[in-house]
Subunit: 384 residues, 2 copies
C-alpha cells in the first residue's frame, strides 16, 4: 500500500492503477483511496466487513483520529468483542472519493505534474462513483467478496449502492438511518449549507487554498445547521432545554443581546468551530452534492425493486423512530422494495429519542441487532 501524502497527515491508502471513470463522464486518471483496517484478514479472505462512513466521517472508524485525537467515530461498534467484532471480522473503512482525509478529492493535486489542487474544478461525484472506487480497492486488495457492508446515513446510501451495483460481491448488507433517495427537504438543507459556504468571502470562489485562507465561518454555519437535523427535538430538549449558560441561569432579563445565552447555542457554536479544523469546504460541497443526486430507483425507471432484482444478499434495514432526516418511512420503503424483489430482508425500527445520530450513539438495541444479524449471516456464509 502507498502512503498517501496529499494532505498534511500521512494516511494509509491505495492507488487505483486504472483511475476511475465517473458517472459524469470524466475519467480521473489519478485516484488514491485512503483506508484503515482493524482485525485480521483470514486465509480465505472471506471475513471482510466494509464500513461506509457518513457525510463528515472518514476512515478512522475504530482508531484514534490523527487530526482530532479523538477515538474512532464508531469505536463503540467496531472492535474486539463489539457488535462488529474485530476478533472475527476484518473491518475495512475507506475515505470516500471526493473526501478530504487522504482520498482523491477537491483538495488533491490535479495531476502528478501540477501541484495546484482541483478545488471547484473537481468533477461532480455520485454515491455510485464512491462505491465504484471502493470496489476497485477491494480488487486491488485481492478480496473476491465482502462478507458484509455496513453504514449509516450517507454510509447507508453506499451500502444500498453496493448491493445494487455489485450484488454478487455482497453477502450481507446493513443500511441504517438512510434512504434510497435524498428527499426534497434534505436537498434543501444541503443547499443552505452550500449557500453558507458560498457566502463566506474567504471561500474565494473555491480558491481559498491559493490564498491560504479557509471559509471557516461559512463552513461552521453549515455544520451548525446540519447538526440540528442530526438530533431530535426530544434530544435537544433533554440535553439543553431552555437552560441559560453559567451564572445567567434563572435570570429573567437577558444580559446581552448577541452574546451566548442558551446552552444549546453554546453547544452549536462549538460544533461549528471544531468542525472547520478537520474538514475541507470544497469536499463538503462535493459530498453534499453526491447525496443530493442519490436516487437508486431513478437508475431503474423509478422501480426500486428492480434495482435489487434477483439479489441473494441478506439485508438488515435499520431505522430510528426519532430520526426526522431519514425517517422510518424511507427505510420501510427500502424494505418493501426488497420484499418485492424477493430478497432476504429483515427490518428493524429502533425506538429512541436520539434522532438521526442514534446510529453513532449508545443504543443497546442497535448493538443487539447488528451483532445478531452478522452472527446469523456468518453462519449462513459458513464463516468459521
Amino acid at each position: 500500500m502507498d502512503l498517501n501524502t496529499s494532505t498534511e497527515i500521512a494516511h494509509r491508502g491505495i492507488r487505483l492503477p486504472g483511475g476511475v471513470t465517473l458517472d459524469c463522464g470524466v475519467h480521473l486518471a489519478t485516484v488514491e483511496i485512503a483506508l484503515s483496517s482493524v482485525g485480521t484478514l483470514n486465509a480465505a479472505r472471506d471475513n471482510v466487513v466494509l464500513v461506509c462512513h457518513a457525510l463528515t466521517g472518514d476512515q478512522y472508524v475504530a482508531e484514534r483520529h490523527p487530526l482530532t485525537g479523538k477515538p474512532g467515530w464508531w469505536a463503540r461498534m467496531v472492535g474486539p468483542g463489539l457488535p462488529i467484532d474485530t476478533d472475527r471480522y476484518y473491518v475495512l473503512c475507506m475515505n470516500v472519493l471526493g473526501g478530504c482525509m487522504g482520498s482523491t478529492g477537491p483538495r488533491s493535486p490535479r495531476d502528478a505534474a501540477e501541484a495546484e489542487p482541483w478545488g471547484t474544478d473537481f468533477p461532480p461525484i455520485t454515491i455510485r462513483d464512491m462505491v465504484r472506487a471502493q470496489r476497485q480497492v477491494i480488487a486491488e486488495l485481492g478480496i473476491a467478496r465482502l462478507f458484509a457492508v455496513v453504514g449509516g446515513s450517507m454510509g447507508g446510501m453506499q451500502v444500498l449502492q453496493w448491493a445494487a451495483s455489485y450484488p454478487e460481491l455482497v453477502f450481507a448488507a446493513v443500511p441504517m438511518a438512510t434512504a434510497s433517495f435524498h428527499s426534497a427537504q434534505n436537498i434543501a438543507f444541503n443547499e443552505v449549507s452550500r449557500q453558507a459556504i458560498f457566502a463566506d468571502p474567504d471561500w474565494s470562489g473555491g480558491r481559498y487554498w491559493a490564498e491560504a485562507r479557509t471559509p471557516a465561518r461559512g463552513l461552521a454555519v453549515a455544520r451548525m445547521m446540519a447538526h440540528i437535523t442530526y438530533l431530535s427535538e426530544e434530544a435537544l430538549t433533554r440535553k439543553f432545554g431552555r437552560r441559560l449558560r453559567g451564572e445567567q441561569h434563572g435570570t429573567a432579563a437577558p444580559l446581552s443581546l448577541f452574546g451566548e445565552m442558551f446552552e444549546v447555542e453554546s453547544y452549536l457554536r462549538h460544533q461549528g468551530s471544531s468542525f472547520v479544523n478537520r474538514f475541507d469546504a470544497n469536499a463538503y460541497l462535493t459530498i453534499t452534492r453526491a447525496m443530493d443526486y442519490f436516487d437508486i430507483a431513478a437508475d431503474h425507471d423509478g422501480d426500486l425493486a428492480a434495482a435489487f432484482a434477483g439479489t441473494r444478499t441478506r439485508f438488515c434495514v435499520i431505522s430510528f423512530s426519532s430520526d426526522w432526516l431519514f425517517p422510518t418511512a424511507q427505510s420501510r420503503a427500502v424494505a418493501r422494495a426488497l420484499n418485492r424483489a424477493a430478497a432476504n430482508v429483515s427490518f428493524v425500527e429502533i425506538e429512541t429519542d436520539k434522532g438521526h445520530d442514534a446510529f453513532l450513539l449508545d443504543e443497546p438495541a442497535l448493538d443487539r441487532t447488528v451483532r445478531g444479524f452478522l452472527a446469523g449471516a456468518a453462519e449462513h456464509a459458513g464463516l468459521a
Copy 2:
C-alpha cells in the same frame, strides 16, 4: 397620527408619549409604533380585532406592501366578507417594537438629537415588551378593550402574552401555530440564523448602515434555512420533489457541480434574495432573540395555568398537523393549561400537509374555524 419617516418609506404610526420601559430595565424614551387599519371603528369602539404578525411579517396585513408591491400577508384572511370580516370588525395591525417597518427598532435613530441608528446597541426586546407597546398604542387610540387578538407563530406568542398580561382587555384570543415557549430546537435554528448574519463581513459588527452596506448574503442564508422550517417535508416533496430545473430535467449526470440543479434549490435562493430587500439584519437578530426568550410559564414559576388564572377571555387555539416548528403537542399543552385555568377554550388541530406556513395559506378549515369562532364570540360580546 404621526407619519413615521424613520425609513425610506412613510409609514402611518403612533408616537408613545411616555416611551416604554423594557423587561431588560432600559427605558426607551422615544418610541413610535407603525400600524395599519382596515374597516371602521364603531361608535362603541368595541369591534377591534388586533392582528399580530410573525417574525418577518409587518403591519401590512391586508393592504398592498409599499416595498414589495405584493398584497398584504393575510389578505386572504382579512377583508370584506373574509373570516376576519372588515365589514364588521376594525382590524388593527402594528409593526412590532424592534421591527424595521416603521416601528422603533435597531434601525431607528437613537434619539431626536442624534441621527445615528441604534444598531446593535438597541436593547434586547421581549414578546412582553412588544405587547406592552401595543397596549399603549391601544390606549392612545382611545380603545378600552379589544374584541379579539389573533395571530400565528410569533404572532400567536403575542396573542398569548396579551391574554396573560392584560386579560381584562382581551375578549377573545386566537393563537395559532404557536407555543407558550420557544423550544430548544427552535432556539437552535434561530441561533444558526444569527450566526449566518454574524458570519457575513458586510454585517460589520452590526454597523453596516454606517458604511451603506447590507449583510445580504448572511441574511439570505438565514432566511433560506428558516424557510425550510416553515414548510413540511410533504409540502416540499409535493411542490418540488427531486425535479431538476429546466432542460436538465431527467438527465442522469449533473452538468455543473455548484450551479442550480434542483427546483427546490432555486426556490430557496429566491426566498433568500427577495427577503434581504425588505428586512433589516439587526431587526432580525433582535426579533429572533425575543422569540427565544419567550416562556410565559417561566413568569409564573413554571405553571402555565397560573398565567391565565381567572381569565374570562375566550380562546380558540389552532394548530396544524404537519407543523414541525410549532407542533400540535405545544398547542395542546396551551389548551390544557387553559383548561386547568378553567378558561373558555376550544382547540382545533387542522389536518394539512402545508407545515407551519399553513396559517398563511389556503386552508378552508382554518377559514371556517376563525370565522365561526369570531362570530360566536361576537354574539357573546353583544357586538351588533
